[in-house]
Symmetry: D2
Subunit: 356 residues, 4 copies
């Protein structure tokens, strides 16, 4: 028996990605969708008519689901073992706690609760132990089955895991990075074609702050029921919107407390595995850090789909003239950086017993 899944904000672009990626999932099955009042009451197929953005068809089992409003929480409780929240910031703030309170686990893409102190912000390969925050969250708030777990911003996926793999041994001190981010990161309608075709926009509102600050919580230690944020790493991010459809790239310069040998780094990356790999979670990439040796890789279009879009693809590790090393990282922003990352979080939580 598969767990029954709801998608909040299921008609938007992140929601559509969840519905697409969950087709034939071995453990989860979509059987509930909530969205805005303008969609409510329609079949999912009708509700997304003319704005289904995925290249695969709407899954057969979802087409006929009648979309509900976000306020149909009681019904959601009947129909869902847990929900993915693909809500925008404002609605997330308003609704996610309501769902959790009534007893529905909420696995969210939104930024609303990333800095809520008892909510874990998860990249399962990095801080899977932060899920242990959940019982404390439930106790704090008097919740029984429900809770909120979130994932971080898509922009940091392409650079953080490779650094985490090196942090314990060599201690990262300073990072200067530039991101080259795809238009799909802004959703649909999102970026007007006239604003990005043959153009670079060197600014994405709020993105540099998230890229610089969220790693502090993710790299934090879970101690005595609290997440103690990392300190002592300075990060400076330049975030750019570039004319590619999918895939966020980062050009990274990094300084360590103890400078490793290049070969050490490559070995650590090559051998890096974490709990999702050990548990063999369905959405876990086999090799979370995939290094490509050719001098002109990774490339956005050619490498973003590696390992179902869940791998962090890395290349061009070389000495930096100013810091210690430079490299290029790439991750698929709507898979690893959004719905795929959310599903991996759910798989981890399921295996660890938080969803039953």
């Amino acid at each position: 028996m598969k767990l029954r899944v709801g998608v909040l904000g299921g008609t938007g672009m992140v929601g559509q990605n969840y519905i697409k990626l969950l087709v034939n999932h071995p453990w989860f099955e979509v059987n509930y969708v909530a969205a805005s009042p303008s969609s409510a009451g329609k079949s999912y197929e009708k509700a997304v008519s003319g704005r289904w953005q995925m290249s695969t068809d709407i899954p057969e089992n979802v087409k006929e689901i009648v979309v509900k409003t976000l306020d149909d929480i009681e019904l959601a409780k009947e129909k869902c073992d847990f929900v993915f929240s693909a809500l925008g910031g404002k609605l997330a703030k308003e609704y996610e706690e309501k769902y959790a309170e009534i007893g529905i686990p909420v696995i969210s893409n939104a930024s609303a609760h990333r800095w809520t102190s008892d909510v874990p912000m998860l990249i399962p390969e990095i801080n899977h132990d932060h899920i242990n925050m959940i019982p404390h969250q439930q106790k704090n708030r008097g919740w029984k089955k429900g809770f909120i777990a979130v994932k971080p911003n898509c922009s940091l996926q392409s650079y953080l895991t490779p650094l985490f793999a090196l942090h314990e041994k060599f201690k990262i001190k300073q990072i200067i990075l530039t991101t080259l981010q795809a238009v799909s990161g802004a959703g649909h309608p999102g970026v007007p074609s006239l604003d990005i075709y043959d153009n670079i926009v060197p600014y994405i509102g709020g993105e540099e702050e998230k890229t610089e600050e969220e790693p502090m919580k993710i790299l934090g230690k879970f101690v005595d029921g609290k997440i103690i944020n990392e300190k002592g790493i300075d990060i400076s991010a330049h975030c750019n919107r570039v004319p590619v459809i999918d895939g966020h790239m980062a050009c990274v310069s990094v300084k360590f407390e103890n400078k490793p040998e290049r070969e050490e780094i490559l070995k650590i990356w090559d051998e890096f595995k974490s709990l999702p790999q050990e548990l063999d979670l369905p959405f876990a990439p086999k090799k979370p850090i995939m290094y490509i040796d050719e001098p002109n890789r990774p490339q956005t279009r050619k490498d973003r789909d590696k390992d179902k879009g869940m791998a962090i693809v890395v290349g061009r590790l070389r000495e930096c003239n100013v810091f210690d090393y430079r490299y290029v990282g790439l991750s698929h922003n709507t898979v690893r950086g959004a719905a795929g990352g959310g599903i991996l979080n759910a798989e981890l939580l399921y295996k660890k017993g938080f969803l039953n």
Copy 2:
């Protein structure tokens, strides 16, 4: 009477840009073109038939010029007061000295002589005094009228002038930058569409080295007939090819010996002028450093043509979490960074009496 100009490599893309930009130039007139043997003997119009890349038509006065080979040096001497060299590296190495030796000043885009110690590498707003190297060059080699002067790589135009404006007072120590470079930088046929459409290529052969090293000579002091390269600045460059047609952008983090106030920087940039502006050279931008205050500028397509494509357009000056400041720079790579920059060099040399 205008000076008579030859273009070496006049049928390639940089050569075409020279011919386009020199239309109606107040001082210079193209009346000679040399190119490969396959073009030689044809009218210019025939020679570029099917591969004229400019959006304006071939200038009327150039259409009928019969293209010569690079070996027709004697003829070039008769027909030209000086030449622009738009030759590739290998041919530049082979021919530029021959032209100079016979008495023809060579103003070059090529990298062949950038590191030749008695050849000045000019950005007129920065190191116009390096033209004083020329008499020494002529003396060293026993040349009379001929000489070679070069311009640097296009990738550093977008970041170096703004830093130079601050360097004397605040001393730059460290720079980490990422460039986002247009496909026109690779010439034609250049980058295959399948390699760059919906894609980022985080590597351009040799480009990072040039971006890091050439500033040392440009910022050098001309003392006692020698250029003493700058020392004490560390530069680390990540160079990317991105899907835009024209315009090289740079995201820059910089550390100074003495950190200025933000307002000081803005004031210096706003007031920055140099010899090309004082001499009112035709291709000199009125404001060499044009700062745009809107938070999401400069943008490649929307700002690359500012002041005939000769301005360095700058924006987003803000504190850096790791170094002192961050900003974004943009310059038009085929204008400021190539033919336009070459013409500005020629204008400076003309006004200073080196071309008559």
Copy 3:
């Protein structure tokens, strides 16, 4: 003394194009802008802050103009000798007659009055005599100085003038054409990047109907105070949105009553001139139909700017296996097809005494 011009809808994309193109116009000067209430009361510079789409700067003389609402008609009368209407369909319907009624000539881009029987729909090279409809329009409505004149849809510019040049002598019977239209035709924000990048959309709402029907009025005869629509030409249009910024292309197959020789067609096109050329109107292209002989032209990016973007660029005239001939036409949709075409209409009307 220049005529004082107002732009209705001056902050939108067509309005911005008018303001850009009217810089330094020898006869007209913008000194009034009306737009939506959210812009009203602000300086033009403030009103378009963050959404100025042009690659040149806002003209100095327009920056400080205080934007008014569309309802400030009395003020418009004081300040304007005539207005360009860049309004959307609904607002055009509501306001254009009000402006005309109070005595302000309205030269419009909108579709609202294209089929109003006493309103001329002008392509000056084709039906300049339709301006003689204006006195009848004024008489019909009891208007004195005011009137409405419109231009047709941008999609038909690239194919209609070349056919008109042949129509009188050879009688066009059937046309099947496919358009490849730029994203700028949809304004800003217009087409989302996710909907057009690496994509073709074979549908633009209402565009095929306009492309097929408007030529009937344009090619109509002005007889006894009436425009008698053309009959006997069947047109079938396939309209596509393609990922180019500017420039509408059309692939045309045409059948005549009397099939001309290819050389006849080329001669007629080459020699074609009309009233705008005879009057030497500032925005009139020197050669309204510019034929390019190279087999792979016209190309959208490389040819759209020919003759200030006002030429119809044509190529590939060859026999059709089904009809008589095939060819490719191109015109710049935001210049010839929008603001530039509107300005040419105004120039014609001015020279013919309708604006004083």
Copy 4:
């Protein structure tokens, strides 16, 4: 036991597509690759290093295959039950007959033998019975096991099958169509980015002729050991290169001898199946003609991958003002139009006993 497959020209782009698409094929297994002398002697992985264009990795079982030259025909005979030819025109002309003569069936993408009278040009849903030409071909030439079978040009896939489905009943008389073809159709390096970015090129050498003429053979009848070409259909094609990566679209106007009702057409398309579907061939699309009802479909990026890229996706069926009907067709040019189509041909031939 799978059949052992060779790929001639296996390092080029069509060859890479074959190798990618044949991964895990139930009947065929690549175990031989021949290419140019510069690749010969290297492992496949080395031979394509830096120019592997596929978004999936090189299949493990192919990486270590040592590439041979085209002249190693004897070896090919030992190693292959049949070969796919992804050779360019000239090499195809030179080599395909040599392979067939020695006893190796050649299933080719090349145009070299499309008009050879005893070589079938196959679209399995249309003219599967043309495979019966093969015994005659073998007899004509004294070949035993070897033969040549080819597929047509990619540009006609998107419009021909939908017309074939209607032809028998309603008799097609005239077709005027415009194609919008992807850059991948030109291979790699193929179209330079500067020639197609923000641009349309209304010309592809030789493409209009192929699009117009090849249908005559494909729609021909196999009678008495001969293919009698279709007559009485006039086709006029306008072929354009457009800035999309994959997917050829066609805008089609068609005239029948007997005009069907719109509903009849839709019903025939909906129910259309042919031998590949009956035989349940692995690469056969379930629905060879997939009609999408939404008014703005098919779209190139969003629909090209339908049914593994093997479906012909059709939409916008509507009356034509000049002919009877208009519609839009789309097919994936590197799958259905190239390697996928070749594999489907091989599957048909295998099932029919020609490959054992």
